[in-house]
């Protein structure tokens, strides 16, 4: 009676939503992380202008992901959120502060420095929390009968701190290459200057995580060191992307560093997915265990098939409208 493998379709939809979110909110969070280090206040104006038209559209993917997870994989939702309780709070608080800073910084004059800190602090905390979530997912969760039974801070381990730092470095790289693409003059030069050290930091941290991950879990080790050698193409691609970032920055290319950084993120993400596939709540539950009822998945799928293309078209249109370089003193006030 079940015509399609709906949990599989939903896994692709949620997986697509996650990478869309990481790539799109990643660069604007990265701009926030880099904010305090910018050359001057005018540069900060331009940096914020470069992401202001698109950031909230980017965050819609997070909310859609949260609601979609509840609808399609309630077990993931009801295990991850309790397990990451404190982290989720930090993530939300960070996102709220930076969101409000977007609204008020342009209206403020004497209190502007406060909103600068809200923007930078919120972005940094939210990014770190997201990285820690990824680490916690790789680590797995202590469950019994489909319910989380671990402690409040189980998610906070040396490994998750490292993945948190990795996310900070990665988002900063997305942010700096975004600025290379969207700005010019001394701000762009600054972005070129910081990109290579950031790339180095990303490679070091991602490298340690890559080596560490197989030792965190038996299944991950088997996956990578058994006969499924085709997946080794992913880390190779990641390295090629890194080389491409290096070369394009060296040659002072505009768009390529950002594109290559997205490539680096996508290949790393796929590497993570194959490490744990098909477990969505490691170490125990697969995506089929975690799925909601067939009729519930179907009911929402029908609506989403209609809406997702519209959201995608609208997103593309927004980026098209705000294409090209952002100049100092222009645009958003």
């Amino acid at each position: 009676m079940e015509l399609f493998d709906l949990p599989l379709i939903w896994a692709f939809i949620i997986g697509f939503g996650i990478i869309m979110y990481v790539l799109m909110d990643g660069f604007d969070l990265g701009v926030g992380i880099l904010f305090p280090f910018a050359p001057n206040e005018e540069a900060r104006d331009t940096m914020m202008n470069s992401v202001a038209p698109v950031w909230d559209g980017n965050e819609t993917w997070l909310v859609l992901g949260g609601a979609g997870l509840l609808a399609a994989f309630p077990m993931v939702y009801s295990i991850f959120l309790p397990a990451l309780y404190i982290g989720v709070f930090l993530l939300l608080a960070g996102l709220i502060f930076r969101g409000v800073a977007f609204e008020f910084r342009f209206k403020a004059r004497t209190s502007r420095y406060l909103w600068n800190w809200a923007f930078a602090g919120g972005s940094t905390v939210a990014s770190f929390a997201q990285g820690a979530v990824v680490g916690a997912y790789i680590q797995g969760f202590e469950t019994a009968n489909g319910v989380y039974v671990g402690g409040a801070l189980d998610w906070l381990t040396p490994f998750t701190v490292l993945t948190g730092l990795g996310m900070l470095a990665g988002y900063s790289l997305l942010g700096s290459t975004w600025l290379i693409m969207k700005t010019e003059g001394y701000l762009q030069q600054w972005a070129y200057k910081i990109t290579l050290p950031l790339l180095l930091a990303v490679l070091v941290v991602f490298g340690i995580i890559g080596v560490w991950t197989p030792f965190v879990d038996e299944l991950v080790r088997e996956r990578w060191f058994s006969n499924l050698s085709i997946i080794w193409v992913l880390p190779v691609l990641t390295l090629l992307c890194a080389i491409q970032i290096y070369r394009s920055v060296r040659d002072r290319k505009d768009g390529m560093p950002f594109v290559a950084t997205m490539g680096l993120f996508i290949t790393t993400y796929l590497g993570l997915v194959v490490s744990r596939w098909p477990y969505v709540v490691p170490p125990e539950y697969t995506l089929w265990d975690a799925a909601s009822a067939y009729e519930s998945q179907l009911f929402l799928l029908l609506g989403l098939l209609f809406v997702i293309p519209i959201v995608l078209v609208y997103t593309a249109w927004t980026y098209w409208v705000f294409r090209g370089k952002v100049r100092a003193g222009e645009g958003y006030h």
Binding site: Y148, L300, Y332
Partner: protein
Amino acid sequence: MELDPLILSRIQFAFVVSFHAIFPVFTIGLASYIAVLEGLAFKTENPLWVKLSAFWTKVFAVVFGMGVVSGIVMSFQFGTNWSNFAQASANFLGPILSYEVVTAFFLEAAFLGVLLFGRDKVPAGVHLFAAIMVALGTFISSFWILSANSWMQTPAGTELRDGVFYVTSWSEAIFNPSFPYRFAHMALASFLTGGFVVAGVSAWYLLLGREVEANKKALSMCLWLLLFIAPAQAVLGDFHGLNTLEHQPTKVAAMEGNWETSPNVPLLLFAIPDQENQRNVYEIGIPSLASFILTHEWDGEVPGVSAVPVEEQPPVAIVFWSFRVMVGIGLLMIAFAVTGLVLRAGGRYWRTSWFLQGMRFMSITPFFAVLTGWFVTEVGRAPWLVYGQMTQAQALTPSLTGGMALFTLIGYIVVYALVFSAGVYYLMRVLYVGLEDQDEDEHEAERPKRPFSAAHVPFEIDEDEHHGKPASQGGH
């Protein structure tokens, strides 16, 4: 002292949801008002309508922005603090809440930008269409949310198997027994909120003698609206109460402060409910009136709280007093709406100082009415989360400790205090600057579409802006 995660989670949810609720309840009503103004502007080409619409659209933008920010927290509360409930009800609530999110995005994606920034860039008809779609979108959003809430009050169309709800009929679950009443009650509450806020702000401007023609029109419109919907809300509230009597008799008993099931129950005006001894310490009431209102017979039987075991009773005092505050405000609203009609004779409604002062005060009352109304229906459902099927204690996240819940409760209070005091402060600035001098600056085409950027008001007070003199716009 042992910290109880259940009570802390309930306080936390009450706090974040109450804070969130005040924004949409206003924007839903205001969106419809803006659509009406746009319609009038389109039809008559009177510049006053455009002026009013442009101003209230700014206010809408700021409040909508705050609602979006506070709404993000809501979508994670179910998982963090009520994970057993999330897991059990996801088959129904997951798709319903997702549809709400999808509606909100679709609305924001397609029409909000046109409404906020498109006045001079798209044809007038398209702008009007966008305004109508935004208003419609806010209703569709509340449709899903209220359907979800009503299902928790009067569950239908689902069956509980092995601790998980499965949908047996989507239409029965979505249009569950209390949904039509709750949706209509809430829709009118939104209109009342929008109406009283617009009327109150207009009254304030009239007192200051600012933009008299436009604000007179706005006040007049609102008073006509309120004259019909304030009494209509009372009637509708009565129907809603009868529906509750049928499905959740204990809640009605708590609202009435009635402990023993009996005939000739008085309508209590004042009482101090004493839950421990299952009686009221002190009460003043009108004989048999509660029986008459609820059963339409003077000697009709009204259910009592004590009919169910103590552990299945809601906290009566909260429900009882919240209900009285809500009804009291409702009666005050009717009184002001009728007074407005009386003062129309000789065109006094916009010149009578005490009336304008009163309307100014009334602009904050709908928020209290809405919140106390929600306290009645939510606290009155206790100890059930899904009425008769799942208690709040069963719904709680098993791994949650009191310390964790306290940490985030304090955290949310601090975050909200900082963020929303800035938001409300800014909203006051927008109101202070007012309708005058709404020149758009010429960078409009370059302007990213952020809700707040629809309001061109600086965050700080200008030097030349003290003592009632409105500021010049911009400050770039």
